[in-house]
């Protein structure tokens, strides 16, 4: 009896211990680990899919689309599932535009994932999906949006391009990557055992925020004309490269900007990588005589001269160990300052520079933006090269006033003339007008601060003098535009010969920069041509390009022709 009681007692203890164990485990499962198990169960039922944000557009000033994205797909395959690689390849070759041999090779590999074609249009992938089951077995499709540049090469150097991963690699696409890319979202939903979304299940999707639209200040029509004209110039047999930019005088906005040779952003990978930049902002050159406008402006602003000041200008002048001559050596001529510019006298410009001194000239050059970046919203901008005046040798001091020994970008040179055309007020050039977010919020691009460089009177005198360049007796009669009074300056600068590091045999950079109408300037146009094998001057080859571009800009812009006659200029006195 005692043994039986004892056995019962031990049994009871065992049962209680078992109960405690079970209850304890239950507490752990439900109380301690319950949340994590519930979360794990939920996670097991949840599927997450990425939602790609649509990259924003790039448009011109009128809203014409220069870059946009459309849906496309990447066609992939699992070779282990493809039953007949040859049959599948034959069915796909025309649709995907991939050779049969390539497709067969990919579809016969050992792996389980091969990419057959990227960025295939959805109407094409629809046709692939419609193929017989036996043919399309093993094929799969992934989102792979494609970036389109409908204008092709027009504006291509400004717009830039995106790489295969969709990130901007050049131009506005690069600078405004964050704005254009938007923010990807994700679709996180509860699915059933077959992977289908449960209609009333958990839906924790986060929508994608599409990229914003970047509106440029470019005018696509004008851009087209500029590029057409540059291409014609580059096809003349002597011009190896050319650049041009058109600025709005009153805002500094870039209406057109192009270099030749250019490239089509849609086919950037078929272009020489050296040509994938934007030469207008990144390539520097010695501008030559167009820089004389800065020298003259500094002299007038400093009170050392006026447009009518007469200088006794010899045909050559010694500067240290070099002798600088005019285009042709001549006896002393009594040029007015207007005549110095109109005849593009090197000696006269050097005489003016010596009147104001090197440091003053450097100060004005920097005030006009030489030697520093303009801050335009484009990557790869060069500041140009302007050494401190303290380091100038005598020869350098004689070269800088005439645009040698100093390097600029085409955009910087255009900005100098924008300052003169705008009454002496410089507005750094900009190419972005506004950014429109996906929700429609428009943000105007910040306007750069305007700075006065010279007085309105000085700018007015420069405008008067530079009009003489295009007039009778000037160096650029080919820069005229019918019905409009044109202001401008030619430049023919020696080009450094890369073979010897000297000027000999290097050819010339021919330049023309000007604005119109003279009585109410609206546009600035700067053109420069690199001509390594030609002796032609800026007035002969760059001025006609300027004229054509300016004519279109004025006509298309609805600018009323000049209502006043050209003044009569006194270039030289006896």
């Amino acid at each position: 009896m005692l043994q039986r009681d004892q056995r019962n007692r031990w049994g009871l203890v065992f049962l209680i211990a078992l109960l405690v164990l079970v209850v304890g485990r239950l507490v752990v499962l439900q109380g301690v680990d319950g949340a994590s198990y519930a979360q794990a169960a939920t996670n097991d039922r949840m599927r997450t899919y990425p939602i790609e944000a649509v990259r924003g557009e790039v448009t011109d000033r009128t809203g014409k689309v220069l870059a946009y994205s459309v849906d496309a797909e990447r066609v992939t395959a699992d070779p282990s599932v493809v039953t007949d690689p040859t049959r599948t390849a034959l069915a796909l070759t025309t649709l995907l535009d991939v050779p049969v041999a390539d497709l067969v090779e990919k579809l016969s590999r050992d792996g389980r994932y091969v990419v057959l074609a990227d960025q295939v249009a959805t109407d094409v992938t629809d046709q692939v999906r419609a193929l017989p089951l036996a043919t399309r077995t093993g094929l799969a499709f992934e989102d792979d949006p494609v970036r389109l540049y409908p204008a092709g090469a027009v504006g291509g150097q400004v717009v830039g391009f995106v790489g295969k991963d969709g990130d901007g690699l050049a131009g506005i696409e690069q600078t405004y990557q964050d704005v254009l890319a938007g923010t990807d979202g994700e679709k996180r939903v509860e699915v059933d055992g077959s992977g289908n979304q449960i209609p009333s299940g958990i839906d924790e999707s986060t929508p994608a925020t599409d990229g914003g639209t970047v509106q440029l200040t470019l005018d696509e029509d004008l851009q087209f004309v500029v590029q057409q004209r540059l291409e014609a110039a580059c096809a003349d047999g002597d011009t190896t490269s050319a650049s041009a930019v058109v600025l709005d005088v009153h805002t500094g906005e870039v209406a057109a900007m192009a270099g030749c040779p250019g490239y089509d952003p849609g086919h950037y990978n078929q272009t020489d990588p050296d040509l994938l930049g934007n030469p207008v902002v990144s390539d520097v050159y010695e501008p030559g005589s167009v820089m004389k406008a800065v020298t003259a402006a500094a002299a007038i602003e400093e009170g050392k001269a006026t447009k009518d000041t007469v200088l006794d200008v010899p045909g050559h002048i010694r500067a240290g160990d070099v002798v600088v001559t005019d285009a042709t050596d001549h006896a002393v001529k009594r040029f007015t300052v207007t005549g110095v510019l109109a005849k593009s006298s090197n000696v006269g410009a050097i005489m003016l520079a010596r009147e104001i001194g090197n440091s003053t000239l450097e100060r004005y050059l920097r005030a006009f933006g030489i030697g520093s970046e303009t801050g335009i919203e484009l990557p790869g901008e060069s500041a140009g090269i302007l050494e401190p005046s303290a380091d100038w040798t005598e020869s350098r001091a004689a070269n800088v006033p005439i645009g040698q020994g100093v390097s600029v970008t085409t955009l910087q040179m255009a900005s100098v003339y924008q300052t003169l055309a705008n009454g002496g007020v410089r507005i750094p050039p900009r190419v972005v007008s506004s950014v429109t977010a996906a929700d429609g919020t428009v943000t105007e691009a910040p306007r750069p601060a305007a700075t006065r460089v010279v007085s309105a009177d000085t700018a007015g005198q420069l405008t008067y003098m530079l009009e003489a360049v295009v007039g009778k007796g000037g160096t650029a009669p080919l820069g005229e535009v019918d019905g409009f009074r044109v202001v401008g300056k030619t430049g023919t600068a020696q080009r450094a010969n890369p073979d010897c590091g000297c000027y000999a045999g290097g050819g010339y950079f021919t330049t023309f920069v000007g604005y119109a109408p003279a009585d109410d300037p609206q546009y600035v146009v700067a053109v420069d041509l690199e001509r390594p094998t030609s002796e032609a001057e800026g007035g002969q080859v760059a001025a006609p390009v300027f004229s054509d571009v300016m004519r279109y800009a004025l006509t298309a812009g609805g600018v009323v022709p000049s209502g006043t006659p050209r003044p009569t200029f006194t270039l030289q006195v006896d």
């Binding site: 409908p150 019918d482 022709p561």
Partner: protein
């Protein structure tokens, strides 16, 4: 089990009472009837009849059960009805959700197809709206770039001044004649 037995004894007594007055006076002890019967036929005296022992309740329990069943039947029917209704409701609801889901999928698909079509059309419009394409089409149509334009500018006194010189556009460059076969 004791109560039904007593009930059975009472009922037996009442039944017996119909044939004997004694039955009304006292209880009949059932086991005693045995010896009486075994004593042989009796022409007179109380007529006793062997009543089978009260062993079960069948004669009384079914009646109460029927009554209880009658009381429970509506409840059971209600439960069954609710169950069936719920199942059918769930089935209908599930079917409706599935149909809606299918419709939604079809609508989404149709929407996507329409969006693709819109995108394709927009793509064509954008491509046809570029300066290069417009220039090509205009040239093909025989148009030429304009010449210099003149502007009539109204003066404050109402007169007008012609600014600029209107010049006719240069003639279009004729397309080279297509070579004829045999040329």
């Amino acid at each position: 089990m004791t109560q039904p037995a007593r009930t059975s004894s009472a009922r037996t007594a009442r039944t017996s009472g119909r044939s004997t007055s004694r039955a009304t006076t006292g209880q009949v002890h059932v086991p005693r009837t045995g010896p009486t019967r075994r004593s042989g036929p009796v022409a007179s005296g109380p007529h006793l009849r062997l009543v089978p022992p009260a062993r079960t309740t069948p004669t009384r329990v079914p009646a109460r059960a029927r009554a209880t069943g009658r009381r429970r039947a509506p409840f059971v029917v209600l439960l069954v009805g609710l169950l069936v209704t719920t199942v059918l409701g769930l089935l209908l609801l599930n079917t409706a959700v599935a149909v809606d889901s299918l419709n939604a999928t079809q609508q989404r698909q149709a929407n996507a197809e329409q969006a693709e079509e819109v995108a394709r059309l927009e793509q064509r419009v954008i491509a046809a709206d570029t300066a290069a394409e417009l220039a090509r089409v205009a040239t093909a149509a025989g148009l030429v770039p304009p010449g210099a334009a003149a502007h009539l500018v109204l003066q404050p006194d109402g007169s007008s001044v012609l600014l600029g010189t209107a010049t006719p556009a240069p003639p279009a460059v004729p397309e080279p004649a297509a070579p004829t076969p045999g040329d």
